[in-house]
Structures are given as C-alpha cells and as structure tokens.
Symmetry: C3
Subunit: 139 residues, 3 copies
Amino acid sequence: MWFQKTIVLKPRSRGFHLITAEITANLPELEQFRQGLAHFFIQHTSASLTINENADADVRRDLEAYLHAQVPECASYYRHTLEGDDDMPAHIKATLVGNSITIPVRQGRLALGTWQGIYLGEHRTHGGARSLVATLHGD
Amino acid sequence: MWFQKTIVLKPRSRGFHLITAEITANLPELEQFRQGLAHFFIQHTSASLTINENADADVRRDLEAYLHAQVPECASYYRHTLEGDDDMPAHIKATLVGNSITIPVRQGRLALGTWQGIYLGEHRTHGGARSLVATLHGD
Amino acid sequence: MWFQKTIVLKPRSRGFHLITAEITANLPELEQFRQGLAHFFIQHTSASLTINENADADVRRDLEAYLHAQVPECASYYRHTLEGDDDMPAHIKATLVGNSITIPVRQGRLALGTWQGIYLGEHRTHGGARSLVATLHGD
C-alpha cells in the first residue's frame, strides 16, 4: 500500500522549526497503515530535515547557533557568492543535516521516541515556502 | 512482505560502537527476504546510527575524537545547559550523524560492502539502553 | 514491485561530482514505477552520497573546500594513519555526509526539485571505481 503527497510548508525564519504537528495534520492517511515507513523529502537545496528534541525550544536555537558558528558566511574560499552571503552556507548545512528522513510507522502513527520531533532546517534568511514530498508505504 | 521489531541495545559508553552482529543476531527474519531494504531507527535524540569501517577500531575512536573536538561542551552560546555539559553536544551530534540508516537486503543478508559495519553513536556520557526500531520490507 | 541493481561508478577525483545522469541512464526501469521510492547506497566507507544544487559547479567545489577545511588531515589525535593522510578524514566525511539517499519516485521519474541533483562525494585522493546499490520499489 502506497500513498504519496506534496505538502507545502509555510515560510519560516532562518533556524530549526518543529513541524511534527504540521506534517501529521496533513497526513490523515497514516491511520490506514498497520506497519510501514514514512519518508519525507525536501525538494530544495538550502533547507533540511532532521529529528531531534521536541521539548525545550533552546535545543533548536542552539543547533542553529552551532551551525552558524561552524559554517561561516563569507569564507575566503567560497566562489559561489552571487546569490547572497547566506546561500553557500545554506547549501553546506543542507548536506550536513540531510534533506530527507525516514520514520517507522506502527499502528497508524509515526513511531517516534517520546522526545523526538521532526525539525525543518531553514537555512536561508528569506527561504519562502518549502515543498516536501511525503511517501507512506506499508500494510 | 513487511517485518518490524524493536531491538533494545545494551548500554554503551560514549563513542562509536560496532553493532552489526548484535543487530543481525536479533533479525533471523532477514533470511526470508530475497531483495528489499532494511531500515534502522534510533528512538532517541542523543544517539545516532551510521555506517563506517568494520575493521580497525581506531576509526571508531578517531571519529569520536573528531566530533568531540568539533562540537564543544560548554560553548558560550548554548542555552540548553540544565541536562549536563554532554547533553546539547549530544543533540548536535545526533543531527550531524543522523538517527536512521537504510541498507539494501539481498539474498537474505544485508548488502553491506566488505569493509562496512553499522555503528551506534552513543553521545551521552551515561546513555543507558537504546531502543532501535528495525523495519524489513521486500520480497 | 521491486528492482535492485548494482551500478559501478567510474573513478573520480577527490571532491563532489554530479551523477544524476549517470544514475538515471543505468535505471531505465524507473519508468515502470507510478509512485514509490528509489534508494541509493554506496558500499564504501570513504565516499558519500548527498543531494545538492545541480547548476553552478562552484557549489560542489565550495562544499569540498568547506569539508577539507573542517576535517583536517594529520590531526594530532588521529591514530588511524597507516592508510594515508586522506584516509581518516575520508571516513569522517563519509559519516558527516552519509552513504545513502532515498528519493521519491513519481510518474516514472525521480521527484527531485528543480535545482536538485545527486552528488557523489569522493573523499579519497585515489578512490577508484565505486559500487552503488540502487533499489527501486513502488507500484
């Protein structure tokens, strides 16, 4: 059994954002799967998806602060600079974090751990809406 | 054909640990799959899964040493500090390394390369047992 | 419906290389899938797969320059040094970038975003040919 859908995530500011609720609200079809996998894929090269703590918002803030410190804007060796100071760092962060996640599905729900949530990493200063392809499969 | 199971990994010290044998010992069902995929998902936000060299244990040690050097404890900009000096770095490492892996299955076995093994990244000093959801699918 | 195949990628120089066309040329079977997922897995521990910009080649160059700056050769704390100065950094980069990607399939094609392409990360100076296992599944 397969189900595939594009979800358009609303524009968000630069940083990491908890989007578990926005995703599951768009996927009532999850309930039909007894066991399987859910795959989420961002169709962009300057945003990312990851799983991390769903409780303290400071985790999201500190993750952004870490990446901002580690992936410099305006590094002397960058050549891809015409699209703005935030563009090449955004591409690097997209590759370090990754642009897709796969989550087990069990009894009609994402089988996340107690403290796990889905994060969108928005790596541009003005990133706009983001397209995410969700694919559910299982039985 | 689908098979899903939670495997509880025994507690391990901080660092990277080769767990290929522990995982396959818990998955005799692999033999029933002619071709497919195996997905492994850690239900925690301070541990990770990756694939790397299965031979020289120094690779695991050096990978830990690298991440310890790159992801500081007690960075001046961390705000998420109440759970211990090792907690925010553990969240960052979990996102950099990733919390799930997908491996092809062929003729009843994981189709790993000759030198590949599955690593658990334990990023807490005292992380305890870790829950991993294994999902096999194929024909 | 399942399809699995090993694709041998020609040897490439150290750095990131756009391989979307090489992969799809090897997978005419993609056309048979109305919806599903494509999984690509490198069977090596010193090369990686990621998705990033398919247009300006400077993005690939800068991504390599960034990783070269961040993952030192000859770090004083490395113990895994017998296989060459580029070996331990290659293992680290393989884990940071990741050794597999999963892409949605829609109407017989990879559902990549407009600017997305598949990158091979070759992290050895003389890496040789690389084996990639492609797994397609869907309906």
